[in-house]
Point group: C2
Chain length 146, copies 2
């Protein structure tokens, strides 16, 4: 089952091999993650074979918490052969972001635990003693009382 060489992979082939929707390929092209591929005489896209690997890299970067804009930028600086301590720099920043998110979630978790421990039974008319709900000040923008 050797596929015929037409000078590149077709959208459907790339999409299937990368485990991605066909529409997503065109979406990534619009977003600048994929450069515009060659075309057949009839106007069909013909992707270079390493496109599949590139898509896997993109998916890996997404799993690392980078947004598509960030991935596009990283790929772009890579293409331009910048001096590029860029990736490490970005990774360090991402780690800080993640630490912050974990800290926030931990705070919220603590508040939820309080709600459970106090045996709150209602958001608005909780009958439990020392109900913590009115005092939930997590991340409240101002210190105003409830």
């Amino acid at each position: 089952m050797i596929s015929p060489d037409r000078g590149g992979l077709r959208t459907g082939e790339v999409a299937e091999q990368a485990g991605v929707n066909v529409q997503t390929l065109r979406y990534y092209e619009r977003r600048g993650l994929l450069t515009e591929p060659a075309r057949s005489n009839g106007g069909h896209r013909l992707y270079p074979p390493d496109t599949v690997a590139l898509l896997n890299v993109i998916k890996a970067a997404q799993r690392l918490g980078f947004t598509l804009d960030e991935v596009a930028e990283l790929l772009d600086t890579g293409r331009r052969r910048h001096p590029a301590p860029d990736l490490r720099q970005r990774a360090v920043e991402k780690i800080a972001e993640i630490d912050q998110r974990i800290a926030d979630l931990t705070t919220i978790r603590g508040a939820l635990t309080e709600v459970v421990d106090a045996r709150c039974d209602s958001l608005t008319n909780c009958t439990c003693a020392d109900c913590p709900i009115p005092f939930l000040t997590i991340g409240r923008p101002d210190g105003e009382p409830t």
Copy 2:
């Protein structure tokens, strides 16, 4: 500066006291978080005074990580005077969700640390020895190789 009693608070008053946009009140009404208030002869909404407190409760619940749909449901079961061990139950489930999110973030953090430690310099053409990027299998749906 005693405001005249017209049988309820106007949207602008509620919005200001709750620190919320006026549009948000109508949005919450559509979403079922606020019941439809009484109206003036001219059709203007007149909210009962405890609406401000209710909005604070909603905001607190949001900060705990509940979606608006979940808050609406919790308020609804509260209104219907269900037996309602509901809130506790939901809180316990939320805690489990949060634990999962923290675990995911921790995994990602580990992978990012690897990238930083290995001194990766490019997403696609990293020149570092033992580059971990191709092996980033975090949360990959299938075990297929990169």
